[in-house]
Amino acid sequence: MQMSNITYNQFDREVHPPYLAPEYKSTILRAPTKPLILLKQSLSELTGPVFDDFNLGEFDHDLTKNSIKNGEPLGERIVVHGKVMNENGQPIPNTLIEIWQANSCGRYVHKVDQHDAPLDPNFLGAGRCMTDKDGNYKFYTIKPGAYPWGNHYNAWRPNHIHFSLFGANITNRLVTQMYFPGDPLLQHDPIFLCIPPKGRDLLISKFDLDATEPNFALGYRFDFVLRGHKATPFEKI
């Protein structure tokens, strides 16, 4: 059975955004208002779904190929890679990363996206990959475009890729967005600016010339750090 004296760290509220951030208007009616109740982690929190026996589709990790209908998707081909680890610096192997994003024009396939920019018949914008035994992952995609949204007058989201990660158990669950270096829209984006200053740079990928594939794709590096566990050694009983 699970050892009861492992406990995972809580969210580090110095780097995570708060529930309520009025500059991001949708939080106003959706943010819980009452204090969270501290829960002792039990078997259910210390475990989570495992996807390591799931067979990924052949092109799940290549968004430039996984929904080709009649040609290549348009836009700037990129390769994104990095490592998933916990706060203790331990790599997290065999963990699922789910990916979704807009196309190069800033248009999502999603039916409720009304932005007047073209869909790309050869680009869905969804993918997934698993970390390897050393916690590393890599996928190919098209650099997503910026797009306008209704939060305030002339509001534009910076280029970003959405991610969902599971990690070792449900305390590790993370949904986040990766941004691109040097994007001038970051300083105007309330979703990015809701993050406390200490955490903001952690969501900006780094241009990576070593990962760049000559004559093919620009490389970006983005590491994920999930919650660690208390570093209290204990004896096997």
């Binding site: 501290l38 610096g89 789910e98 996206d113 969804a126 955490g199 969501l203 096997k236």
Partner: protein, 191 residues
């Protein structure tokens, strides 16, 4: 399950580092996370049938809505349910954008009581307008005896306890609504 000996790894070569901040799931998660449910052409890993109700006659249905601070139904939330009672490990995921009433609906089996505690499901709530997801739990109204002595439920202010208890609505059907705000704001946990 094997015992694993954890040790302090703060001196590991990678070194200790800060958690990656959360960001909202946004309004457009459906084709990436719940593609089959929303009829996108992409294989889906998990859905709302945590067990098949055809194969498990003891299967239960969990159904509910998510409400915002105005009491309006939220049509773009995504709910995940995880349960592990030591015997069954089950996971499900469902968005509130496809049902005509914007409900979430799951088929699962009722977990067992572990160590004399009341049985429950772990719930993770995501939506546009939430920068970081919320954790809650679903307990069951027909477990009144175990609920009354449960240490987690008893740590919750008495007047809010009912927000965690799904109401039995018929044979094997439980209703669990999630209120993000207001008088009946659901209890959310720090885990």
């Amino acid at each position: 399950m094997e015992n694993i000996l954890y040790k302090d790894t703060s001196s590991s070569p990678l070194g200790a580092t800060l958690q990656t901040p959360s960001q909202t799931v946004g309004p457009y998660f459906a084709y990436g996370l719940t593609p089959k449910q929303y009829l996108y052409d992409f294989k889906q890993l998990v859905g709302n049938q945590m067990v098949s109700p055809i194969e498990h006659e003891e299967a239960i249905t969990i159904v509910g809505k998510v409400f915002d601070g105005n009491g309006d139904v939220i049509p773009d939330a995504m709910i995940e349910i995880w349960q592990n009672d030591g015997e069954n490990q089950l996971f499900g995921r469902f968005g509130t954008g496809t049902d005509v009433q914007n409900r979430f609906i799951f088929s699962t089996i009722k977990p067992k009581s572990v160590d004399g505690l009341a049985p429950y499901l772990s719930v993770i709530v995501f939506m546009r307008g939430q920068m970081i997801h919320s954790y809650t739990r679903i307990y069951f109204s027909d477990e009144a005896q175990l609920n009354a002595t449960d240490e987690v439920l008893n740590a919750v202010p008495a007047e809010r306890k009912n927000t965690l208890i799904a109401k039995k609505k018929g044979l094997n059907i439980y209703e669990f609504n999630i209120n993000m705000q207001g008088e009946n704001e659901t209890v959310f946990f720090e885990i």
